[in-house]
C-alpha cells in the first residue's frame, strides 16, 4: 500500500516540472523502477489514477520501465544480472558482490503540451 506514498512523489514532481515549463497538460510520465524495490506496478498504476485526478496530470499515461537486478563481484569484478535469490557471482562463485542496479525509483521524463 506504500505505492500511494511513492506515487505522490511522482505526481508532485511531474506537476511541478510541468508548471515550470508552463505546460497546459501532461500526456505521459516515464518512470524507472528497479525490480528489487517493493513496488508492484499494478498498485502503482492504481495510485497514479487516484492521485493525478484533478491535476494537470489527469488522464496521462504512467509508463513504467522495470530494471533488472545487476551486481559486480568484489573478488573477480565480473558484472552479472541476477534475480532475487541468486546474487552470487556466476564466474567465481563469490558472495561478496555489490548491487549496482535494481533499487531504482526514478522519474525520467515526461511528455507535455
Amino acid at each position: 500500500m506504500h505505492e500511494m506514498g511513492i506515487c505522490d512523489g511522482i505526481v508532485s514532481a511531474a506537476v511541478e516540472a510541468a508548471n515550470d515549463a508552463k505546460a497546459s497538460r501532461i500526456n505521459s510520465i516515464d518512470v524507472t523502477i528497479g525490480v528489487l524495490t517493493e513496488i508492484q506496478e499494478e498498485a502503482l498504476q492504481f495510485a497514479f489514477g487516484v492521485l493525478s485526478k484533478d491535476t494537470i496530470a489527469e488522464g496521462s499515461t504512467l509508463a513504467v520501465t522495470m530494471l533488472p537486478a545487476k551486481s559486480v563481484c568484489g573478488e573477480c569484478s565480473a558484472e552479472f544480472g541476477h534475480g532475487r535469490f541468486d546474487a552470487k557471482c556466476p564466474e567465481c562463485g563469490s558472495f561478496v558482490c555489490t548491487l549496482v542496479q535494481g533499487r531504482e525509483l526514478r522519474i525520467d521524463s515526461m511528455d507535455i503540451d
Binding site: G9, F85, D108, D111
Partner: protein, 221 residues
C-alpha cells in the same frame, strides 16, 4: 514536447533522511531501524537490548505504530526516553516523522537511538530514515519460508535477528534452510538467534550492536 526530469521519486524523503543522518553524525548517535512483522517481538527485543546495554550506553527509543501509545509506555516504564509516532494508517515510517520525533529528544544525552518501525515486512524497506543500519527480526513461529516470500527486507537488512528461538522444538521451522536462504539473499548479514523475553542469546546481537555504536561515537563535524 518531451521534458527531462531525472529525479528520484523519493527525493523529498531521501533529502530529509540525509539531514537526519548528518544530525546523528554531528551528535555521535548511532541509529538502528528495527523492522519486523507485527508480533515478531520488536518491543521485546528492544527491552532485552536495553537490559543488556543500558549500563554502557544512553539509549532512547522511537516507537512507530499505526495507533496507540502502548509500546512507548512499555519502554518508558523502564526509565528510557521513548517517543511514540502514530502514523494513523500509514504502513511505514518516513524521514520527516523521524525528524519531528528526534526534535523532542536531547541527542547530546543519547548514544543509541532505536527506531521501531511499523510492523510490516514490505513497505519500510523503501524508505531511508537516516539510520545507520536497518535490522530485521523474524520469529520462529512465522516460519522458515519467509525469506522466499519477502526477500526485499532480508536483502536490505545489515543483520537478521531470529527471535523466539526457544520455541524451535514446537514449530516446524527448518533452521538450516532459513540460514541458507538468508545467506543467498544477503551473504554479509549475520543471523542472531535469540529469545528476547528470556534474555537468551542476546549477547551476540548486543556485541555486534556495540561495535557499531563505538564506530559511530566519534562526533564528526
Amino acid at each position: 514536447m518531451r521534458v527531462d526530469i531525472a529525479k528520484g521519486i523519493l527525493e523529498k524523503n531521501d533529502t530529509l533522511a540525509e539531514g537526519n543522518r548528518a544530525l546523528f553524525a554531528s551528535k555521535g548517535v548511532f541509529v538502528v531501524d528495527l523492522m519486523a512483522s507485527p508480533g515478531a517481538g520488536k518491543t521485546s527485543t528492544i527491552l532485552a537490548t536495553i537490559a543488556a546495554l543500558r549500563d554502557r550506553y544512553r539509549i532512547a527509543v522511537i516507537e512507530g505504530d499505526i495507533a496507540s501509545r502502548v509500546d512507548a509506555e512499555k519502554i518508558a516504564a523502564h526509565g528510557i526516553p521513548a517517543v511514540q509516532i502514530n502514523t494513523g494508517g500509514a504502513c511505514h515510517l518516513e524521514s520527516d516523522m523521524i525528524r519531528r520525533a528526534v526534535d523532542t529528544l536531547d541527542l547530546d544525552e543519547i548514544d543509541l537511538l532505536i527506531i521501531e518501525n511499523v510492523g510490516n515486512l514490505v513497505c519500510p524497506t523503501d524508505f531511508d530514515l537516516g539510520e545507520h543500519a536497518k535490522v530485521m527480526i523474524l520469529s520462529v513461529p512465522e516460519g522458515h519460508d519467509k525469506p522466499y516470500k519477502y526477500p526485499g527486507i532480508f536483502q536490505l537488512s545489515e543483520a537478521v535477528i531470529l527471535n523466539k528461538y526457544d520455541t524451535l522444538s514446537v514449530f516446524d521451522f527448518n533452521e538450516a534452510e532459513f540460514r541458507g536462504v538468508v545467506r543467498d539473499l544477503n551473504p554479509s548479514a549475520p543471523v542472531f538467534a535469540l529469545s528476547a523475553t528470556k534474555g537468551e542469546g542476546v549477547e551476540a546481537w548486543t556485541e555486534w550492536l556495540s561495535a557499531r555504536i563505538e564506530a559511530a561515537k566519534e562526533p564528526q563535524s
